[in-house]
Symmetry: C2
Subunit: 214 residues, 2 copies
């Protein structure tokens, strides 16, 4: 049974990263939100390709490992792919590098004209879709072949799936900082604890892991 899963980062005051620029494609506050995540051994292995065993192995790492497990397809917004960075360059292949860390079909939601799919080394293929979230989810679920579908972000894309009631498992990593700016994660989600079971756990880093699962 395919589940729809989301992992997000937020600050204690409920903000996700703000200040996206070409130099900071994930936003200027991204580093402060993801310090503990990027320090995990799993992240070192899966994203940096560092197999030396470096990185933390505690609670944060157990969530990082789960993040990469059992995913058969990914959905993300255009900004997360990097489509807005060079919107007029048909050869731009996003900012995930030559070997993106997905290894699955990745459906990029876009309001711009369709463009051809981009197969990448490592098993990732980027597809571009201008359809309703339920429709792209149906396609991704089919492609996932029984594994899970991850909605990778950004927060606007994640909230669109959450508002539509399509998400089975939401995991939020709350960094113990107060950003005071950014996109507000929790707006429109009040009462989610009535349809999903909430669990909370604190990592050695101080990161608070909150999970809503049904």
């Amino acid at each position: 049974m395919t589940r729809v899963r989301i992992d997000l980062f937020a600050s204690l005051d409920g903000y996700t990263s703000a200040g996206q620029t070409p130099d900071h494609p994930m936003g200027e506050d991204w580093g402060r939100l993801t310090t503990a995540w990027a320090a995990t051994r799993t992240f070192h292995e899966r994203v940096f390709g560092d197999t030396s065993g470096a990185g933390t192995t505690g609670v944060d790492d157990s969530y990082a490992a789960a993040h990469f497990e059992g995913i058969g397809a990914e959905i993300m917004g255009a900004a997360m792919f990097g489509l807005h960075t060079f919107p007029d360059d048909p050869d731009w292949r996003g900012w995930w590098g030559d070997r993106p860390p997905f290894g699955t079909p990745v459906y990029v939601l876009t309001h711009t004209a369709p463009r051809p799919s981009i197969p990448m080394p490592g098993g990732t293929t980027f597809h571009f879709r201008n359809t309703a979230v339920a429709d792209v989810l149906a396609e991704a679920t089919e492609a996932a072949g029984g594994r899970d579908v991850r909605v990778g972000g950004g927060v606007g894309t994640a909230r669109a799936f959450l508002r539509a009631g399509l998400v089975d498992h939401l995991h939020v990593m709350i960094a113990p900082v107060l950003l005071g700016r950014g996109a507000r994660l929790w707006d429109d989600l009040s009462g989610l604890e009535r349809t999903h079971k909430v669990t909370t756990e604190v990592a050695e880093s101080g990161t608070v892991h909150v999970t809503f699962a049904r």
Copy 2:
């Protein structure tokens, strides 16, 4: 050395209780925010006067016990005393009952005309002050005689002291619910982690305890 301490309740989405009415002096959402707190053995003993040993004894209770330890004076807003409930009744003694659970001088901030202090059974005396927060803090610190001063709330009063940089120890109990309404706790407090050390801990109840201490 007197410290200024605050304990507050919030939801995951950063709201404190909304919907204050005479029937719900702390707001309609208060119960959802304080379930785990009210379930502690310390709360049963100190607020209900229940010495049977009933109540939880885990992480929540350790914070509840700390809440009542070492306080020499209290400061609260007029709404928390209950001044707005019967504003024209000079005999109204607030809604904390015949034996308020403070046992210290309590300074009630008010913009209305001064009224006489009210001594209550159990060692609590309510004083009414229409002065700047720094001035009432100086008076409360003097009265505390070396013990700590607690700013009891509500959230507007707490934030006034926080914004003024007067708080040494802020403890927030975050209930794993999304209220979607209420007063926003974190506004204006961004960067507090730069002046205060942040610690996070999860209780058996799922409550997230966040402490900012300097």
